[in-house]
Structures are given as structure tokens and as C-alpha cells.
């Protein structure tokens, strides 16, 4: 188990109903955690179309989580 903070943006924030939450998880990678949270909150976007940042830096989905990490979940972008 690791203790992490999940932070949500745009559609994810509105869907989750909160900006961030602390949670204990058995997920070992960012992608596993996304699957867990998508299931819990009803995020419908495939991870491949989303992005993740860990502790202020863009990260790969297969990055392993450590206790204390802040994991930012970015839904599909639409700048411009």
C-alpha cells in the first residue's frame, strides 16, 4: 500500500466532485491508479488519451508510485 494524493482537472475534477483527495492504494503504477480511480469516479477516457504528472513533472503511465506522491490526472487536452 502507498499513500498518495490524487489531483483532478477539468472534466475529471467535475466528475470526481473534488479537486484532490488523499488515498491509500494497492496500485503500483500511475496507470493502475488511474484505472482504479476511473472505476470509482466514472472517468470514461482511455489512459492513452490522458496525461499524468507526478510531483510537478509530466510522467509516464508506467511510473511506479511512492508514498507521498502527488499524482495529477489530466483529461484529454483541448488547447487553442
Amino acid at each position: 500500500m502507498v499513500e498518495v494524493t490524487a489531483q483532478y482537472f477539468a472534466a475529471f475534477r467535475e466528475r470526481a466532485g473534488c479537486e484532490r483527495e488523499r488515498l491509500a492504494t494497492r496500485s503500483s503504477t500511475a496507470q493502475e491508479l488511474y484505472a482504479e480511480l476511473a472505476d470509482r469516479h466514472g472517468f470514461l477516457d482511455a489512459a492513452a488519451r490522458c496525461k499524468v504528472a507526478i510531483n510537478g513533472e509530466m510522467a509516464r503511465w508506467d511510473t511506479r508510485l511512492a508514498s507521498g506522491d502527488t499524482v495529477l490526472f489530466f483529461p484529454p487536452v483541448a488547447g487553442g
Partner: protein, 154 residues
């Protein structure tokens, strides 16, 4: 070579003036304007949200790439956030160069990459009162009482 996120109205002339260079003979600029529709749906306003720190970091990376790839003098980009009305400028990109080919190519490269890579999200508000996050399958509405609808189906 500066990228910025702005909550204020974009002023293209001030931005373009910063691209002036004695050797620059060409300047190409792009503006993204809020349209009154998307996929046939009438749009009344747009709302942009960003993770400013990471957007600036990635935006500056895009500008540096454009400078490395194309023979330009200077380039810059500003993206709006907040609530925008129809016709307002949501994003401005400018590139100056000795010759116009490089300025066109760089400007286009920058806007293409900005749209794909930066953590910026756009919510459309429709004439019928509904709204939706562009490109997102996840609905804008919160899940009822924080229970996941997806989990409730057998």
C-alpha cells in the same frame, strides 16, 4: 522566446512588437478565435482551464523546438484562460524570420504542438444551457452523490 498563460484579453500588437528584429523581414501570426459553433452545436461561450506551471514549461519547450527546427528570429505564444465570449482571441502565436517560409512553418508547428501537448482544457457552453469538455468522453456533470454510476451497473 516566451510562452505565457493569460487571464487578461490578448493584445496582438504588443506581442508582435516583441518579435521585431532588424534582420527579420517576415512575421507570421496565428490567432484562435472563439467560434459560435462546434460540430453544428451553437456555442455561446468557452471556458479554458490549465495547469499553468506545466503548460508554461511545455509551451516553452515547443517554442525552443520551433527555434531549433526553423530558421526564425523570434517566436512567442500566449494562451488565454477563463471565460471567453464569441470572437475573443483564445490563443496567439507569432514568429518572425529573415524569410517567410520559416516564419509560416514555425508558426504552424507551434500552434499544432500547443494544441496537442499542453495541459489546457476547453469547456463549451451551449445555447441550450448545457456544457461539455471538448475531446473528453467523461461527462462534465459530477457523478451523483460521488457514487460512481459505472460501478452500480451489474
Amino acid at each position: 522566446m516566451t510562452f505565457a498563460i493569460s487571464a487578461e484579453v490578448i493584445d496582438p500588437e504588443t506581442l508582435k512588437a516583441r518579435l521585431a528584429a532588424a534582420r527579420a523581414g517576415a512575421c507570421v501570426s496565428f490567432e484562435g478565435w472563439v467560434r459560435d459553433h462546434n460540430d453544428g452545436e451553437p456555442v455561446t461561450a468557452l471556458e479554458y482551464e490549465t495547469h499553468a506551471e506545466l503548460a508554461v514549461k511545455e509551451g516553452e519547450k515547443v517554442l525552443a523546438e520551433a527555434c531549433a527546427r526553423f530558421d526564425i528570429a523570434l517566436a512567442a505564444c500566449v494562451h488565454r484562460v477563463g471565460l471567453l465570449k464569441i470572437g475573443e482571441c483564445a490563443v496567439w502565436v507569432g514568429a518572425s524570420a529573415e524569410h517567410r517560409g520559416a516564419a509560416f512553418d514555425a508558426c504552424r508547428y507551434i500552434i499544432d504542438e500547443i494544441k496537442q501537448r499542453l495541459p489546457i482544457w476547453k469547456k463549451e457552453h451551449y445555447a441550450n444551457g448545457a456544457s461539455a469538455w471538448v475531446n473528453c468522453a467523461t461527462p462534465a456533470a459530477p457523478a451523483p452523490a460521488r457514487l460512481s454510476a459505472a460501478n452500480q451497473t451489474p
